[in-house]
């Protein structure tokens, strides 16, 4: 098939909508291992966009490229939990075997090996993506096999199934995961009781957003319903990018019906007729099974026109793929991305609930929120309020990874203590727990009695355990690099501040910093926190500020004992010369003789 034919084929179903640009680019990337210039020209003509606009979209998303990555695009997950499981030495080993350096395509066009942000396989890492497909449980043996498969040009669909096995690892079930109500039960309840009664139940349940922000779900739905509009939208945020979080992956694998049902209940309540699941690119393997479930629901009368025979109850769901951008988990960036653009967070107000997708009222909720809403529609508000705390009703799915014997998914009533969770996952000699991901909180043992709840430690679900053998500064460094990679670049404090912060963390980590640098980190962090445009920028300094306050010793032991150290590193400045001369011996470094 020529590139012209391919592009005509992929753009036909959505009728050449510029809003589908990202979806087209995603398809093209995985067919050609890049978006070729010819494809950009064709899309520009078909969609009436400028070529530079299309380049700008390609440049924004990590998984899109304007030059070929090769037959195999291997991305090793670079989350701190992957590091702890040995991902960095496996990366080195793979690069050595294939004769490549990270990020640079091999000259024969066979392969590129690179790193990527957390792929959401933290309980079964180290993990990687090959041409977008998730591979779990990497070890030396598996890396050897992968190198051989690549050298022998074995197509990825011929690789052993075992490589692509993703476990659910559900370790503890509560009211959500143990529910056995039938498909359609929530919709039948909606039809029996009426949408006003169901909305009242959602409100009375006290359900709050499970993505982490904790906004009242019933209130959000009511705002959307009350806003005058010719069209409303329901969007499920499955851009699960917070490092250490993988519970949405499990819900979409094992309970997708209930998630789609929650979206449909929301549509019935708000009057929306169109819905969208925004699925992070890392979960490419989930797309086909999810499409199949959507089709089954259409055939069962649970989706599409005249749902369960009710005239005027029309709603359908489309899956949109993300392409490697953490920022798109922020709801207004996600909407920009759904519209095919660079995922830059919008100004607020107005909020998406009144001016969202296509400028229409839009409910954006997390995967887990929709599932909980579906079950509240079935069992009622009282059933939900029976568990949890006064301000945080119901349960929370927690993704546990790091230094523990039983990583995986744990569903707990809100109010569970960190202590109890550590006991359940069999964590020993715990030094710290990082809760709510890279943008979250670093919790020392003295605070292990604190609870998971919106009024105490609030989390979207990430729970990473670090034992006494770990250098916590490795974690801080990993997160600092993560935020440089994931900052959208729109506002000054986040764009520049995250880079300055990373350089300072590196300076401490490499033993070149003094106390002055710690003060600088404090100042930059506070500035980012109070002046950034969106939540990414305001929370990006959290790991640094939290650990400076609660774990000062991890910095102290790396410091040079002077108040000021210059930022200029003479030895690092010689790297270009070493690269050119191909030398890396002791004599090519300064200060190694001492």
């Amino acid at each position: 098939m020529s590139i012209e034919e391919f592009i005509s084929r992929i753009t036909a179903p959505a009728n050449n909508q510029p809003g589908h640009l990202l979806q087209y680019l995603y398809e093209i990337q995985y067919r050609y291992s890049c978006v070729p210039q010819r494809a950009i020209q064709l899309l520009a003509e078909k969609l009436s966009l400028t070529e530079s606009h299309i380049h700008g979209v390609i440049g924004f998303y990590s998984f899109l490229h304007d030059s070929p990555r090769g037959d195999y695009d291997v991305l090793i997950s670079d989350s701190i939990t992957d590091h702890m499981l040995g991902s960095r030495s496996l990366l080195d080993a793979l690069c050595k075997k294939l004769g490549v350096v990270p990020g640079v395509p091999r000259e024969d066009g066979r392969v590129t090996v690179d790193t990527t942000s957390c792929t959401g396989m933290c309980d079964q890492g180290p993990a990687m993506l090959v041409n977008g497909w998730a591979v779990t449980r990497l070890d030396e043996n598996r890396i050897d096999n992968i190198a051989e498969l690549i050298e022998s040009a074995t197509a990825v669909d011929q690789w052993p199934d075992e490589f692509f096995r993703v476990e659910d690892n559900i370790q503890r079930r509560d009211i959500l995961l143990s529910d056995d109500s039938n498909d359609g039960a929530a919709l039948r309840s909606l039809i029996d009781k009426g949408d006003d009664a169901i909305l009242e139940q959602i409100e009375a349940s006290g359900l709050r957003g499970r993505g982490g922000a904790g906004f009242n779900t019933g209130m959000k739905w009511r705002f959307c319903k009350q806003t005058e509009a010719d069209q409303r939208y329901v969007v499920c945020n499955a851009d699960e990018g917070e490092p250490g979080t993988f519970k949405d992956r499990v819900l979409l694998n094992a309970h997708a019906d209930k998630v789609f049902e929650g979206m449909t209940v929301c549509a019935g309540v708000t009057g929306a007729t169109k819905g969208c699941l925004y699925l992070r690119g890392e979960y490419r393997y989930l797309r086909a099974p999810l499409e199949q479930i959507l089709q089954q629901r259409r055939e069962a009368g649970l989706l599409g026109n005249t749902i369960l025979g009710q005239d005027g109850f029309d709603f359908d769901i489309e899956i949109h793929m993300g392409a490697g951008a953490y920022i798109c988990g922020e709801e207004s960036s996600l909407i920009e991305s759904l519209e095919g653009k660079r995922g830059i967070p919008r100004k607020r107000p107005p909020f998406p609930v009144t001016h969202g997708y296509q400028n229409r009222p839009t409910v954006v909720n997390n995967v887990e929120t929709f599932m909980a809403a579906a079950l509240i529609a079935v069992h009622g508000a009282d059933w939900f309020r029976l568990v949890g705390t006064g301000q945080s009703s119901g349960t929370k799915l927690i993704s546990i990874s790091g230094d523990c014997e039983k990583p995986g998914i744990y569903e707990y009533p809100f109010g569970v203590s960190i202590q109890d969770m550590l006991k359940d996952c069999v964590a020993k000699d715990t030094q710290a727990v990082q809760i709510a991901g890279a943008a979250g909180f670093t919790i020392p043992p003295a605070e292990f009695e604190r609870c998971i709840a919106f009024e105490d430690v609030s989390t979207g679900g990430s729970f990473m355990v670090f034992n006494q053998d770990r250098d916590l500064l490795d974690m801080v460094k990993n997160f600092a690099h993560f935020f440089v990679h994931e900052s959208c670049g729109f506002c000054t404090p986040c764009r520049v501040g995250s880079s300055l912060m990373k350089d300072l963390v590196d300076k401490v980590h490499s033993g070149h910093a003094g106390h002055y640098d710690l003060d600088e980190m404090q100042n930059i962090g506070q500035l980012m926190r109070s002046t950034s445009h969106c939540g990414l920028g305001t929370t990006a300094p959290n790991p640094v500020l939290d650990t400076l306050e609660k774990f000062p010793q991890i910095y102290e032991k790396h410091l040079k004992h002077s108040s000021y150290e210059p930022a200029f590193d003479l030895d690092a400045a010689l790297q270009d010369a070493r690269d050119i001369s191909g030398r890396d011996d002791a004599g090519a470094h300064l200060g190694t003789e001492s």
């Binding site: 400028t50 440089v484 994931e486 670049g489 000054t492 404090p493 520049v496 880079s499 500035l527």
Partner: protein, 242 residues
């Protein structure tokens, strides 16, 4: 529309109309809030964050925040001025801004706001990025070293000129301005010196050729009066004595 709505800016009552931002109302009342990406002719952007103020205890950008009745806005405390200074320093070290060698010196908003904010040094470690100069166009040169990503040229070319000559590419610290032409060069684009986009750059990134030193440094807009008095350089585009 009632004319009776007011909020307080550093203690002074500022009247505002429905739909006004803090910036709109303050500028109309003759109060200066420093800004770079904001230009009253365009819809608010909110990217430079230099217009940060404290409104009812929360730091927000004045150019995007709707004015609200009885809001208390701090536009001049030491804390706010310190934050603005740090944001300006970040912009200075991110690009290559060499005021003494820049032909926009004295008529540059970045420089003028830095003077206003008492910025005496760039403070942070310079990034020294490798960026290019594009002199391919007959009448206008672009020096990417000085771009601060305010997107005013992007907005002007898209919304006023309807040419879409400029776009933003990359992400994070690699975000950069690009030109929409087959070669990526300005000379190959549909850009013209009469375009609105040629007259909105607050810094020395988009420069008219052949007229650089018609007015000597030392006698320029901000050499004579501070930016808090004379306002944006774009508003003086037509002035003889600019």
């Amino acid at each position: 529309m009632s004319g009776s709505n007011t909020f307080k800016l550093d203690g002074r009552d500022i009247p505002f109309e429905d739909g006004d931002t803090i910036m709109d109302a303050a500028l109309r009342a003759g109060e200066y809030i420093p800004h770079l990406c904001h230009n009253p002719e365009f819809s608010p952007h909110g990217s430079c964050r230099v217009c940060v103020v404290n409104a009812n205890g929360r730091q927000i950008s004045a150019c995007t925040q709707p004015a609200m009745e009885n809001m208390e806005v701090d536009n001049s405390s030491d804390e706010i001025m310190e934050q603005r200074r740090a944001l300006l320093q970040m912009l200075f070290v991110e690009g290559n801004h060499v005021c003494p060698g820049c032909e926009k010196s004295g008529a540059c908003q970045l420089q003028a706001v830095a003077y206003y904010a008492n910025m005496l040094s760039p403070h942070f470690t310079h990034f020294f990025p490798q960026r290019s100069v594009d002199a391919s166009h007959a009448d206008i040169a672009i020096d990417f070293n000085r771009c601060i990503l305010c997107e005013l040229c992007v907005r002007a070319s898209r919304d006023v000129d309807h040419k879409n000559v400029f776009a933003i590419d990359g992400r994070g610290i690699n975000t950069h301005l690009v030109i929409n032409s087959p070669s990526g060069k300005l000379g190959d684009s549909r850009f013209a010196a009469s375009d609105k986009a040629a007259h909105v750059c607050p810094v020395g990134a988009i420069l008219p050729k052949h007229t650089a030193y018609d007015r000597p440094i030392g006698e320029r807009l901000y050499d004579r009066q501070p930016i808090s008095i004379v306002g944006d350089v774009a508003a003086h585009e037509q002035d003889e004595d600019r």
